[in-house]
């Protein structure tokens, strides 16, 4: 496959697209982990939502 004399522009456009898509994916995954981690920390300190189910006894 030949991209001709403007190969740098074509590959550059696809590289920027890949970076933007990767950035969006990393952003939502990292943000989700951060929020889950903070909620778990609050839960461990006993700060829970009023509607959260009560923790039952440990089952084997």
């Amino acid at each position: 496959m030949s991209l001709g004399p403007h190969a740098g522009f074509i590959l550059g456009a696809y590289a920027v697209a890949a970076a933007v898509i990767l950035g969006l994916v990393v952003w939502v995954v990292a943000d989700h982990r951060a929020q889950r981690r903070t909620l778990a920390e609050l839960d461990a300190r006993g700060v829970r939502r009023r509607s959260a189910p009560e923790k039952g006894p440990e089952t084997p």
């Binding site: 001709g4 522009f9 697209a17 969006l24």
Partner: protein
């Protein structure tokens, strides 16, 4: 009205008490408006959406790189169009989605409306940025310039600046509900830019080419280039849906964290 507060007024239990059946259509819609219900649906839908996005991207990229011919005028640089055009569509679509969500915030006080708007803003900004950069990389070899103050290019740049303004405004307020109402008003005002972008190539004498896909009389692109473009547009749209739902899920969790921290601080003050 907070998301959890809304649930108390029109949540599933309250509506069942009023005699609504769980299987009725309005009930299904109201269930979806419930943030907890939305979180459950998002957890189930996201793996399927992510898989479909990857699959359609694989098909689209195969068509772009191994099937689509070079254009008789643009040569291989036509490959940039397969990224540039979907990015432009989604940059505008995200603002349209935010405008609908703004109505949801201001008129119906929908519990997920400003969550949807806040999630869409950075995604729309990313696609608009991608559209402008890929356009510049196409413009240099084809027009001889990375940038011209053409009506289409300028109105897209204005859209990107409006996204930045909205994002700055979201971060300027501690209370997301207050920020949501103000952002909703500005979003509706900014929606005037969408028809300007779309029709700029018809209203003014622009260097940018006129519409060649969505136009009266049908597309003017050859099917050998149109089908790869449709596949890439579908892939980008699936990506948008996946990231949007994931970002909405994160925003709901962020608001839960905020309300829990406020409650913990109040409890500490009272103790």
């Amino acid at each position: 009205m907070s998301a959890d507060g809304a649930r108390g007024v029109c949540g599933p239990a309250a509506l069942r008490a009023k005699g609504y059946d769980n299987m009725t259509y309005p009930m299904a819609l109201i269930d979806l408006a419930n943030p907890s219900r939305f979180l459950g649906l998002a957890e189930r839908a996201l793996p399927w959406l992510a898989g479909a996005t990857a699959l359609v991207f694989a098909v689209g990229l195969y068509l772009v790189w191994f099937v689509a011919p070079d254009d008789y005028q643009q040569g291989a640089t036509v490959k940039i169009m397969f990224v540039h055009v979907p990015a432009a569509w989604l940059g505008m679509f995200a603002w349209a989605l935010m405008s609908v969500a703004a109505l949801g915030t201001l008129v119906w006080r929908h519990p997920l409306a400003d969550v949807a708007a806040r999630a869409a803003a950075p995604i729309g900004a990313s696609f608009t940025f991608l559209c402008l950069v890929t356009g510049a990389l196409w413009g240099r070899p084809m027009w001889g310039a990375y940038w011209v103050w053409d009506a289409r290019l300028t109105s897209m740049l204005v859209l990107l600046l409006m996204y930045f303004g909205i994002l700055a405004l979201w971060h300027a307020f501690d209370d997301p509900a207050r920020a949501g109402r103000l952002v909703a008003v500005l979003t509706l005002v900014g929606a005037i830019n969408l028809p300007i972008i779309k029709f700029s190539v018809d209203w003014w004498n622009t260097l940018h080419q006129p519409a060649s896909v969505f136009r009266l009389g049908g597309p003017t692109i050859a099917p050998s280039l149109l089908w790869p473009l449709i596949a890439m547009a579908l892939a980008f749209t699936l990506l948008f849906a996946t990231v949007q739902i994931a970002a909405m899920r994160n925003e709901i969790l962020r608001r839960r964290v905020r309300s829990l921290r406020i409650r913990a601080a109040q409890a500490a003050q009272e103790a």
